[in-house]
């Protein structure tokens, strides 16, 4: 019988991570657009894009380094809250957020940059607050691009494998997400079981797109 837990774990992970990624990506893109210093802009853009360029396992390695029981944040949480982050469900969310963030950020930034900058300046000379300009002008007119970026980021979070494997492991019922489950079943030779998961993912993917 098929184990349903990977499906639930994946849905939970992807949903929470897209929420975080979506707003974080929007805000970071907006901040970056407003930075006038070109050097700062390029450096920050490089840093935020890094998870897209580095192999997922390397990102996972760094995450493990930070969130692992001996890592700076991991140790802090362990000492003060007695919470282990690595190899817990939280870790799957962290991996998904970190890996899908660049897609969201880049899509949002691209969509923002497509919006005629005169519109923003017009808003300013008409006394609109920066916050109002962001939502009513920039966001509203960049919506199609933002949504497609959000979808890409969601798909990326749902499919995250390399970094998750590193920081969250592959613990059945806890951190075994759908992509993990596919791998595990195939590795165990259960092509049939794996196929069930694959079908499920493909359905979600089509549904999302």
């Amino acid at each position: 019988m098929t184990d349903w837990s990977p499906i639930f774990i994946s849905m939970k992970t992807a949903s929470l991570s897209i929420l975080v990624t979506f707003f974080l990506g929007l805000i970071v893109a907006w901040i970056l657009i407003k930075i006038k210093n070109d050097t700062v802009k390029i450096v920050l853009d490089g840093v935020f894009t890094l998870p897209l360029v580095l192999p997922p396992t390397v990102v996972g390695f760094f995450l493990l380094y930070i969130f692992g029981v001996r890592g700076p944040i991991g140790k802090f949480f362990l000492d003060f809250f007695t919470v282990k982050i690595a190899f817990s469900w939280t870790a799957t969310v962290i991996a998904a957020v970190v890996m899908s963030f660049p897609l969201m950020y880049r899509s949002a930034r691209g969509a923002f940059e497509q919006v005629d900058s005169n519109l923003l300046d017009a808003g300013r000379t008409l006394g609109m607050s920066e916050w109002k300009i962001f939502w009513k002008v920039l966001f509203a007119n960049a919506l199609p691009g933002i949504i497609s970026g959000g979808i890409l980021a969601y798909a990326r979070g749902l499919g995250e494998f390399g970094a998750t494997a590193m920081i969250a492991g592959n613990i059945a019922g806890q951190t075994r997400t759908l992509p993990m489950a596919v791998y595990s079943e195939v590795a165990a030779g259960n092509m049939g079981e794996a196929f069930h998961y694959v079908i499920f993912i493909v359905i979600i993917s089509f549904f999302v797109i």
Binding site: D116, N118, L119, D121, A122, G123, R124, T125, L126, G127, M128, S129, K136, V137, A140, N141
Partner: protein, 345 residues
């Protein structure tokens, strides 16, 4: 009369040249005339606060003085606080909002909403309230943009090439509308253009900008009549400009047209060029002062003008009726010694 003054003194390093503009405006409309990319828009944007100059002062006095920008005191008011309206070249209407929403966007919660319907009426936009900008013609878009600015009630309105996006046959109509609207506007306005007719029509005072520098400043009529500099003459529409060799105080030889002319004003040594407006030639006789032979001239018909090009490159324009298609080029043209413009490089 209240005490009103718009003071602009800005320096900014740009890629192609350095912008260095310094002027004061005491009333009405100032025109800034210059070729594309001379720093016109940059000047407007610095006044609006969209772009920060490197150095200088921008301040507005309407009874009280408000300093918009002062590099020495590190004052730099946000665009939101400057109360400066900006009419963008592409109008910059919000595509996701209706006409009504666009016009109302500058109002704060305490403002009277009635002003929106007043503006819609004043700019003949009744019936279009629920339309989106893309459903409007170019002329209607411009009216919405103006209504939006005036609803906001600015002290200064900046016009950035307001007619360049419009078809020729719409321009004249909208120019008149804008002139009439500006008559009712109490504050300052600055209009930036590369079109000499627009500058002439709208503005009592003119500022000519080239490569970021002011090369002429003064009353519009005076600048058009006595441009003083080659570049100014060109921008005010003078078609015939030539380098000269001074013969004596009232005579010179044109190097481009290879003829000698008499001029009534005294030619000082700083004069390097002359200009002759194409409209200023008159039919003449062989023995007239400044007579020019028209052998081998070519003519070109326009709806209300003949354009004649002489062999030596001189242009002559003469009015015609639309119905007349025949025109005999006179054997000789003359130019009044008073009508020749003396120019410095």
């Amino acid at each position: 009369m209240s005490n009103r003054l718009l003071k602009v003194n800005i320096q900014k390093k740009l890629k192609e040249f350095d912008l260095d503009v310094d002027f004061e405006l005491k009333k009405g409309c100032l025109g800034i005339l210059g070729p594309s990319g001379c720093g016109k828009s940059m000047t407007l944007k610095s006044i609006a606060g969209i772009v920060d100059p490197d150095k200088g002062i921008v301040s507005l006095t309407m009874d009280e003085e408000t300093v918009y920008f002062d590099s020495d005191s590190k004052i730099n008011l946000k665009p939101q606080k400057r109360n400066v309206g900006y009419l963008f070249q592409n109008y910059a209407l919000f595509p996701n909002m209706t006409v009504e929403e666009n016009v109302a966007i500058g109002l704060s919660k305490n403002d009277d909403r009635k002003i929106v319907s007043e503006m819609i009426k004043r700019f003949h936009l009744e019936g279009l309230e629920k339309r989106y900008p893309r459903q409007l013609s170019g002329g209607q878009q411009q009216r919405v943009a103006l209504a939006r600015i005036l609803a906001y009630g600015p002290d200064v309105i900046l016009f950035d090439e307001p007619f360049s996006a419009l078809d020729t046959y719409l321009k004249e109509q909208l120019r008149i509308e804008l002139v009439n609207m500006l008559k009712d506007f109490y504050g300052f306005s600055i209009l930036v253009t590369h079109d000499r007719d627009e500058a002439f029509q709208f503005c009592d005072e003119l500022l000519i900008l080239d490569q970021g520098k002011i090369i002429a400043r003064g009353e519009t009529h005076e600048i058009f009549e006595d441009p003083k500099k080659v570049e100014v003459a060109r921008l005010t529409g003078c078609k015939n400009i030539s380098k000269i060799e001074i013969i004596d105080e009232h005579h010179f030889k044109s190097l481009d047209w290879e003829t000698t002319f008499e001029v009534s004003k005294k030619i000082t040594p700083n004069i390097t060029h002359v200009g002759i407006r194409a409209h200023d030639f008159k039919p003449g006789e062989k023995d007239d002062v400044n007579s020019i032979n028209t052998t081998n001239a070519t003519k070109l018909e326009m709806p209300f003008e003949w354009e004649i090009t002489l062999e030596n490159g001189l242009w002559w324009k003469i009015e015609k009726q639309m119905h007349n298609h025949d025109f005999e080029i006179p054997k000789y043209l003359k130019i009044n010694p008073e009508d020749i413009l003396l120019l410095e490089e």
